[in-house]
Symmetry: C2
Subunit: 258 residues, 2 copies
Amino acid sequence: MNANVQDVVVLLGDSITEFGWEPHGLAQRLAQTYVRKFDVINRGFSGYNTEWVIPVFEQFFAKSQDQARLPKVQLLTIWFGANDACIPPEPQYVPIDAYAANLSKLVNFVKSPDSPYYSPATRVVLITPPPIAIKQWNEVLAGQGEEPQGRSLDSAHRYAEATKEVGRKEGVPVVDAWTGIWEACGKGEEGLPRYFSDGLHLNANGYAVVYDALLKAISESYPEIHPDALGFVFADFMEVMPSQNRAQTLIKRNVFDK
Amino acid sequence: MNANVQDVVVLLGDSITEFGWEPHGLAQRLAQTYVRKFDVINRGFSGYNTEWVIPVFEQFFAKSQDQARLPKVQLLTIWFGANDACIPPEPQYVPIDAYAANLSKLVNFVKSPDSPYYSPATRVVLITPPPIAIKQWNEVLAGQGEEPQGRSLDSAHRYAEATKEVGRKEGVPVVDAWTGIWEACGKGEEGLPRYFSDGLHLNANGYAVVYDALLKAISESYPEIHPDALGFVFADFMEVMPSQNRAQTLIKRNVFDK
């Protein structure tokens, strides 16, 4: 972009990512945390599954030869499964083995030296689908005059487990949104609605669980990009104000040189 | 950036812009509104004035010859004055004529064909500094053990008027945050704190006034980039789901072809 001085965090996912710009959503929280360090780019696509997003990824992620003149993607989160885990014949359904293969493909787009999108600077985090408060979701649908959907807590759980298996296989950290929310709600379906806006999408409570788990995963796996480890690209005004050489003080910095 | 498919909105300013990633802040609201259409880039620098930001602009905004291969800045908001309007000898103070000249310089960085940063695709909006609830702000400072600062409602008002004059001179629309908040609060200082988190920085009420006025300015001056006029870069899943040719349906689109 014209405004090309900061590197970026890219959030790839479905509606639960797209809606993350809501107040207290995942994108909003990350953007606030990383302000003046990394820009946060939301590539959430409501309703999408891992199959549909592959051609999308191939169009939005820069090829290796173009990456040098573009801000680096320092962190890529990949958060699907909520739609893949629909129960057939729902059209969003992706069989669990294909879901796992698609996740691996997305990871290897950036991690495999053979990929045209190979981006060695990009750290990847997988996020599992959350549970679903199916009774709440079907009530919301009924309120809109729609039929109940083929979704289930058990199916979401199996796709969450498959996500963790992909993480192990590909050597990528996994934020277990499923278990985090399940444990937070007391491991009972009756507690789930407190974490959802409508049974399927997270509210501030749900996003808080995922945000905290993501920051923990960053601390553990990629501590060099934890917000606390990074400096501002442009100096704090408390440094600018007394500077005897403001032109020098205002030269852009490497965020990793805190 | 690696994720280079969407054009961008750039918010340039001081702390009132930087803090816009807060829930209900200006950046958060715009990012939510423009999701899947434009990315929102926050270039707010707490404590900065128009003098200090000029060398910063020259480092973060791409030069004309580099712009073609980077996402376009479709909209640039320039929102200063809160710090420039400090009363001397406060070190953030910028004389009002210099403030106006600096604003003109920032506008002409992108609008003047002679500028190395000339960006004919970039629409500019100026935003005036808001009022200041000086009693509230000095109480906050006192609570932190700090002395009262040299700021005043009247000075902020004069810099707001100067901003509007620059807008007229440069032919750029102006969002009058000062008047918007002053009228919303009933034109009395006692009503101001309802629009501020601390007397200087806006809360959700204050940002709502500015957001609404900005969307109105976009409607009036640049209707082609009003969020309602734009389509998604990648298709809505309701179009993907029944598609007989998903590869075709998933090809990225021009947001202006709604």
